[in-house]
């Protein structure tokens, strides 16, 4: 970061400054494992209750699904953690999200319409929050998942104050 002194190379986007909270990795893992566990449990319960002939047709997918879930839970959150970044300057909010598809998003302060922070049950457990910043575009929302709850609350406060100070209807 911050090597913008050299003007020789090609133009590119640097990652925004801040990472999401470290606990986000655990939260993502828990979410994947939980979702996977629900499906696997449903398949296993069905296999126990239903006659033996169909059992392999349920247990084999259950095993496959369990493997995929575990592999995803181990691999993806670490990748997401490396990619997910955010930054707020006086003029705009920047995010970078994704893994296979990486996406940088920019919303200028003057165009921001709403700033929300949401906390699902799992996020509450881990002390995290997801920040959503919307603009007048139906497709322009920025989401920063896995923020520390306190940081998210401060951000909502800060962004709301800044955007309220900006005149115009943000379209």
């Amino acid at each position: 970061m911050g090597e913008s002194g050299s003007r020789s190379g090609e133009l590119r986007l640097r990652p925004p400054v801040h990472r999401v909270h470290r606990t986000a990795v655990t939260w993502w893992r828990a979410r994947i494992l939980l979702a996977g566990a629900v499906v696997v449990a449903a398949l296993v319960v069905a296999a126990v209750l239903l006659p033996g002939v169909v059992r392999p047709w349920l247990l084999v997918p259950a095993a496959g699904f369990a493997v995929v879930t575990v592999v995803t839970a181990v691999g993806m959150p670490a990748w997401w953690y490396r990619v997910h970044r955010w930054e707020v300057t006086g003029d705009a909010v920047y995010t970078r999200t994704g893994a296979l598809w990486q996406e940088w998003r920019v919303a200028p302060m003057s165009r921001i319409q709403t700033v929300d922070s949401d906390r699902g049950p799992l996020e509450q457990l881990f002390g995290l929050a997801t920040l959503t910043v919307t603009t007048a575009s139906a497709r322009g929302a920025l989401r920063i998942p896995g923020l520390d709850h306190g940081v998210a609350a401060d951000l909502v406060q800060e962004l709301t104050e800044t955007t309220q100070a900006t005149p115009g209807d943000a379209t």
């Binding site: 050299s6 090609e10 590119r12 986007l13 598809w101 920019v106 919303a107 575009s137």
Partner: protein, 508 residues
């Protein structure tokens, strides 16, 4: 009407009085209901008459008469109970026969005032007025008046849309485009043609099924075409479908677009008027305009024509019957005319949509070719696997036939899609083009851009490509420059909307 809730008694000082809907509405409604009675009653009557003519008359006629009387009564009451008022800052509507409702819309927020008159309404000299704020929710943002006199409709439209902005804009009022009957020739090139053709056969079979005649219809057709052999019969069926499709799409186009006019009115409003039987007047405030989109579906593009859509905020999409066409400022017309109208709408001397655009890196072509081949492989593989599993020679033949036909078509579309990729800056406008089956050239005001997304898949990253999306409050909400070279795209975005990417840009 003397109840204490009578709004007409509120603030007598108001110089804007309460008004009622036009009494002629009752007649229009009666004609509508009479039409429904004929459309529903005749087949029902014929059905019953096959058993007993007496019962047919005894059931259908009184039912129709009752429906007509009920219409007169209900409409009379509705008209008496409906009032509207345009005051200095609000439009108010009080309505409801049993449940009274009062709606009030701030004049400031009104975006469109559309007038519609179907044939049964038109003959009585009245129009339906729809006043819309373009805001979400089906009920909250709009006031619909069915129906008022034509002059009253025009007066409402002019009064509500003229904000009296005398801000020294150049007086470029007047006619921007007029319908030319030869544009009708583009109508059969739309996707409607095959859809209508196929739909007609479907409808015939469906109706035949209701009367348990489906097998009969098929045998009758087979007997009729029996002498032609399989290929000949197929050719006749397809040709008949095409003829039906062509006639249908022509009829639809003429009904929608006949007598089309695009005007710029004082006060900065664009107005589209069109329609053969149902006459529509659609208004769009220029203040809401963020750009235009030149749309060229493949068939229309081959004939050298294009359609112009407005990219505007507050044009509600969805829910409305006419929604897709409300944003259309010019139906399929010769490309030169489309560019001219696009420029005129934007008050530019030359249309940004006709400017030369920067092509995209060749890697973008590779991506499109791979997608095309993958797409073409799906039916081939499915047919091959099924053919192998079921050991069916027919399926295997279909597999190679679809490969022979599908691959070249897919490749041609991919190469065409690549050639159509382009982006550029033209004065105040950011221009982006993409698509093959539906080529779209969007010219978006740079000040209308309210955010940027830069997106890279793993493959795009490896090949140095990037998709830059500008978000906007208007139109579909986001317009993309697909598969541009990453560095070039970022430089373009930075130039188009200076400062937005600012601190995030760096030189490698």
């Amino acid at each position: 009407m003397t109840g204490r809730d009578d709004p007409a008694r509120d603030d007598p000082a108001s110089r804007y009085g309460w008004r009622r809907l036009d009494a002629r509405t009752v007649r229009a409604s009666v004609v509508t209901v009479a039409g429904i009675c004929v459309a529903a009653g005749v087949p029902t009557g014929l059905g019953i008459a096959s058993a007993s003519v007496f019962w047919a008359l005894v059931t259908v006629l009184p039912a129709s008469a009752a429906a007509l009387v009920a219409t007169v009564v209900v409409e009379r009451v509705r008209l008496r109970r409906t009032r509207y008022r345009v005051s200095a800052d609000r439009v108010e509507l009080v309505k409801g026969i049993v449940v009274r409702s009062r709606r009030s819309v701030s004049r400031e927020r009104i975006r469109t005032v559309d007038l519609t008159a179907g044939p049964q309404v038109r003959i009585f000299g009245i129009v339906t007025v729809k006043i819309d704020t373009g805001e979400g929710g089906s009920a909250g943002g709009s006031v619909s008046l069915y129906a008022v006199g034509r002059e009253e409709g025009e007066r409402l439209r002019a009064e509500l849309l003229d904000r009296g902005r005398g801000d020294g804009e150049p007086a470029a009022d007047g006619r921007l485009a007029t319908f030319a009957p030869r544009w009708v020739r583009y109508a059969p090139l739309s996707v409607l043609t095959p859809a209508l053709g196929a739909g007609a056969y479907g409808a015939v079979l469906q109706v035949a099924q209701w009367f348990d005649l489906q097998a009969g219809v098929i045998t009758w057709t087979a007997g009729l075409l029996g002498g032609l052999g399989l290929v000949g019969a197929l050719a006749v069926v397809v040709a008949a479908g095409v003829v039906i499709g062509v006639v249908g799409s022509l009829a639809l186009f003429v009904e929608m677009w006949w007598n089309f006019r695009l005007d710029r009115e004082p006060g900065g409003t664009l107005r589209v008027r069109r329609g053969l039987l149902t006459v529509r007047s659609i208004s769009l405030e220029e203040q809401r305009l963020r750009g235009v989109e030149l749309v060229e579906p493949l068939g229309v593009r081959t004939a050298g024509a294009a359609r112009v859509d407005a990219v505007a905020t507050g044009l509600r999409s969805g829910g409305d019957d006419d929604k897709a066409d409300r944003k259309t400022l010019l139906p399929a017309a010769p490309r030169g005319e489309a560019d001219r109208v696009a420029a005129a709408v934007l008050r530019e001397r030359t249309g940004p949509t006709s400017a030369a655009l920067t092509p995209h890196p060749r890697a973008a072509r590779g991506r499109r070719i791979r997608w095309a081949l993958a797409g073409a492989a799906v039916p081939v593989l499915t047919l091959t696997v099924l053919g192998g599993l079921l050991s069916s020679a027919v399926l295997l033949h279909l597999a190679w036939i679809s490969a022979v036909l599908g691959v070249p078509v897919a490749l041609a579309l991919a190469v065409d899609a690549y050639r159509n990729l382009g982006h550029g800056l033209n004065g105040d406008y950011l221009v982006a083009r993409h698509g093959s089956v539906r080529r779209s050239t969007v010219a978006l005001q740079r000040r209308g851009v309210i955010g940027l997304n830069a997106r890279q898949s793993l493959f795009q990253r490896r090949r140095g490509l990037m998709t830059i999306t500008t978000t906007t409050a208007a139109g579909s909400g986001a317009y993309s420059v697909h598969d541009v070279g990453a560095a070039e795209g970022l430089a373009f975005a930075d130039e188009a909307v200076p400062g937005l990417l600012g601190p995030l840009l760096e030189h490698a």
